[in-house]
Symmetry: C2
Subunit: 203 residues, 2 copies
DNA sequence: GTTAAACTAACGACCGGTAGTTAGTGTGAG
DNA sequence: CTCACACTAACTACCGGTCGTTAGTTTAAC
């Protein structure tokens, strides 16, 4: 069906060239049709883009939710590690999807920013509370230090995002084997003892 | 001087709209001249872009190098914390510069990718060995766990990059106060005891 | 079973607009 | 008088989008 083929090709072009840079002529050409034919399936560039975005967003939510359910019996730390690898696995699986998602998050076309923020936000609103619950659970069991769960989620996302930026800059082949090592360091910490703030060294 | 004014305005437009999306007409208009007059100072869009890029790259290198020197007497962990905050301080100081740099790193215009990777790589080649040396020093002194220094640098960059992605997504006001808390968790680790790999739980 | 209307999905031609770029010209300061 | 720097005018190329048209298929009435 042309409808799906267009969406699939459009994803690739939006990922590579961005919203403004992607050309409907080029997309049509790769699909094997002419530009006006796209308008038989989509109202325009904007609708095509939003269709691609919501498709990815829904798929992403389904993936993360299913991963959370699959490891429901495990310990909080196992579940968190699994979510860490899941985030990364999902995005290393399909480079176009990764580029599209990152581009949309970091550099949304200005006139679509509000709708994009809303769509992307729904993913985090779905997952973040469940991550926080896992951290709280771990703290209750005494396997995770008693930091603020919200801040732990922030740190968790920093780790995931930072890893994915490294992935994009260095490439998957040099980087994927470092995944578990990074988690280990994250888990144990890199230093011995408490970190002392500048202002209260002798606290 | 128009030469500098053009470069300064171009930075803003490249940051906001990307290489393809930025318009020489708009840049000229904001400078207060007409589009063709840009060609009296730059050979074309490409040269203007690369001029902006190398300008930022040089400035960035100078800033990081000077920060490293300023804290040369301190303990490795203090110097590392200072570098962590410096990275973030440098980029929160100027939003346009941040956007430009991130865009260039993550979504370089295809036909300039090689040159961009080379220019950006020079920054890391300058700083990464010195970070690794700080980690090695800390390991030698017994204040930092005996992980591989290269992997510690990777984790360090993950933290910085992840933090900056959070900055871009959430905004500086909600986020900057979390800076030190994240470092503390990074330093101490979030868990108690060793992290056990899936395959060797009873090691 | 035939036939006519309606729908789908493709097309070429073309619109107004903007892009980067070039050629040629004016102008004012040293 | 020169030369740096601005200008106007024009160019080609491409953009997203609309038009009328056509071929093929589905639908429904007779």
């Amino acid at each position: 069906m042309s409808y799906d083929k267009i969406k699939q090709v459009a994803l690739k072009h939006f990922a590579r060239d961005g919203y403004e840079g992607a050309s409907l002529s080029q997309i049509a050409s790769e699909v094997g049709i002419k530009k006006p034919s796209i308008y038989n399936h989509y109202a325009g560039k904007e609708e095509l883009f939003l269709s691609v975005l919501t498709g990815i967003s829904d798929d992403y939510k389904r993936f993360l939710a299913s991963r959370l359910e699959q490891s429901e019996g495990d310990s909080p730390e196992r579940q968190l590690f699994r979510m860490y690898t899941s985030y990364i696995e999902y995005f290393t699986f399909d480079a176009d999807r990764t580029d599209f998602w990152k581009r949309v998050i970091m550099f949304p076309p200005a006139f679509l920013k509000e709708r994009i923020v809303q769509i992307v936000g729904e993913v985090e609103q779905l997952i973040a509370p469940r991550l926080a619950a896992l951290f709280s659970d771990g703290i209750g069991r005494g396997t995770i230090r008693a930091f603020d769960p919200g801040e732990l989620v922030t740190l968790f996302y920093s780790l995931v995002n930072g890893y994915m930026m490294g992935l994009m800059m260095v490439g998957p082949h040099d980087f994927t084997n470092k995944l578990e090592r990074i988690w280990t360091m994250f888990w144990q910490g890199i230093g011995y003892g408490e970190w002392e703030t500048e202002g209260r060294r002798d606290g």
